[in-house]
């Protein structure tokens, strides 16, 4: 089954001085249900724009997005979105932040609290339930954000460089935890029988190729902006479950890295020469 389908999607932005700036050009690809797809590209190539279009926060200038087989109109209700920036509500406690999606959907207080507690346990933050986000470290806040999105149990998870602001070690830990959550999604989803046994589909944007290969089933490379296109798609056939820490020295990993990097490097070079390269 196809979870997400982009069909000849282009997106323009209006320039302040008039005229338009084309960010995405003619992007078409499918994401199969349960797949982990990473999107890499030089900075300014419109990776975030692509996610915003998939989330329904932006509508494509032309082309169509299908989510779960139906054309997307408005917000994508099958998706959640882990943002690059901190998006926890600073005035709510960790527990209330995790429970937020359930509260918004009108779940009874007791049930929301119980499930939030369960999820806090899963991300190892039970002792911090009553803390406010400002009292946590960056890595802890990311874990809260993961729990906040995972708890509402949507089939598609959009992630926009979620770990890019973290230091290398915290980052590897978060990657490991993300994979554990995703691979163990069968067990996690057991509380909600409707989706039990189904792995979530993940669309993961990053500028870090190592991260992309370590996590994903498939790596999609975007060209330098403006008017980014898909320049390459690579299958990642490394075995699962994977150990993010050991993976990076394995020959299969190194080979794949070399192959994708040769494509990506050319785009990074271009982005550094073109004036659009600094465009976020």
């Amino acid at each position: 089954m196809i979870e997400l389908q982009l069909d000849r999607v282009s997106r323009d932005f209006d320039l302040p001085g008039g005229g338009t700036y084309r960010v995405l050009e003619d992007i078409s690809f499918d994401v199969e249900t349960g797949a982990f797809v990473a999107i890499v590209g030089p900075s300014g190539c419109g990776k975030s724009t692509l996610l915003n279009v998939a989330a329904g926060l932006l509508s494509p200038t032309s082309g169509q997005v299908q989510s779960g087989g139906t054309p997307l109109a408005g917000l994508n209700r099958r998706a959640t979105y882990l943002f690059q920036q901190d998006a926890l509500l600073p005035w709510k406690s960790v527990r209330d932040n995790v429970a937020l999606g359930l509260t918004l959907a009108g779940a009874p207080r007791a049930e929301a609290a119980a499930r939030a507690a369960e999820w806090l346990g899963r991300v190892g933050l039970s002792p911090f339930a009553a803390h406010y986000p400002a009292q946590l470290s960056g890595g802890m806040r990311k874990r809260v954000a993961m729990a906040q999105h995972w708890i509402i149990d949507r089939s598609l998870m959009l992630m926009d460089e979620p770990f890019s602001a973290l230091d290398v070690h915290t980052r590897q830990r978060m990657e490991t935890e993300l994979l554990a959550l995703w691979e163990g999604a069968d067990a996690a989803a057991a509380t909600t029988p409707a989706t039990a046994g189904e792995r979530k589909t993940v669309l993961f944007v990053t500028h870090d190729l190592e991260e992309a290969i370590a996590l994903a089933d498939e790596v999609v490379v975007l060209s330098a902006g403006p008017a980014s296109r898909i320049v390459a798609r690579h299958r990642v056939t490394l075995d699962r479950p994977r150990d993010v820490m050991d993976l990076r020295t394995m020959p299969a990993f190194v080979d794949l890295y070399g192959a994708v990097w040769s494509v990506l490097r050319a785009e990074v070079r271009k982005s550094q020469q073109s004036p659009g390269g600094r465009h976020a």
Binding site: A55, L57, L75, R77, A79, T80, Y81, F83, Q85, D86, A87, L88, L89, P90, W91, K92, S93, L100, G101, L104, A105, Y132, P133, A134, Q148, H149, I152
Partner: protein, 255 residues
């Protein structure tokens, strides 16, 4: 850490007391040495005695309660209107653009010139003073609420929308708390303005209230009465302000 904080708080309190005593001592001393004429500047001990006289006679409480009532009504009504309009305009850019010149015009009017009009419209009682306080409080609250709502982070908004929030839930869980920071930082200013509105209103035409007391004292060149009235006002505003600060600390405890 906490001990250091407590220590510095005490140090500040100590020096605040020193500054206050120094000013009062200088004032009292200069008058005693006949370098200042008590007819123009009165004397701290006379002022304290006068406040004591008012307290015993009970007139202080009567006037103070009238002024406070007007201030509180003005503050509540002004805040409600200001916050309401602030939200409405922040959520509707079209409305904001249409009303923008009118809001600027109204805000540019010196409130003192409105006082006689309000006396005419609402009479000599408390409502003309409440109206004056409202015109002052409204704009402070309005501008801060407007800014606070506009200032709400786009990522927070997108995030709760992705989590399934409706427009109403968005307002409740993101926009209101985000604006609260701004609203509270303006509450101290608004409080001062509410009292100013009430007192100026009383000063220009009334039969009760601290503004009336000060105006009567000025009419008879009774500088002690004027200073006593000002002192009472200052102390009361300081006390209410401390209460607001406590409330703010509790509401914004997540910071």
């Amino acid at each position: 850490m906490r001990e250091a904080k407590e220590h510095s708080r005490r140090l500040v309190l100590f020096w605040q007391a020193v500054v206050g005593l120094l000013i009062l001592g200088l004032w009292q001393g200069l008058v005693s040495l006949k370098l200042l004429d008590p007819f123009f500047v009165s004397r701290p001990n006379d002022i304290v005695r006068r406040i004591g006289t008012w307290m015993r006679a009970g007139t202080l409480w009567m006037h103070l309660s009238v002024t406070l009532e007007e201030s509180v009504l003005g503050l509540v009504a002004g805040a409600a209107l200001g916050i309401g309009f602030g939200f409405a305009l922040a959520r509707s850019p079209m409305l904001a653009r249409v009303l923008d010149p009118y809001i600027r015009m109204l805000n540019a009017i010196p409130r003192v010139v409105l006082a006689p009009l309000f006396l005419l419209w609402f009479g000599l009682g408390i409502w003309s003073k409440v109206a004056l306080a409202v015109t002052l409080v409204f704009f402070v609250m309005f501008f801060n609420t407007y800014q606070g709502v506009r200032d709400a982070s786009q990522v927070l908004i997108d995030n709760v929308r992705m989590l399934g929030a409706t427009e109403r839930q968005l307002v409740r869980h993101v926009l209101v708390p985000s604006a609260l920071t701004w609203i509270f930082s303006s509450l101290h200013t608004s409080l001062g303005f509410a009292v100013v509105g009430a007192v100026v209103g009383e000063y220009l035409g009334s039969t009760r209230g601290l503004g009336y007391v000060i105006q009567q004292a000025e009419g008879t060149f009774d500088t002690t009465g004027v200073f006593a009235g000002m002192t009472v006002l200052a102390v009361v505003v300081l006390m209410i302000s401390a209460g607001v600060a406590r409330l703010e600390r509790w509401l914004l405890r997540w910071k």
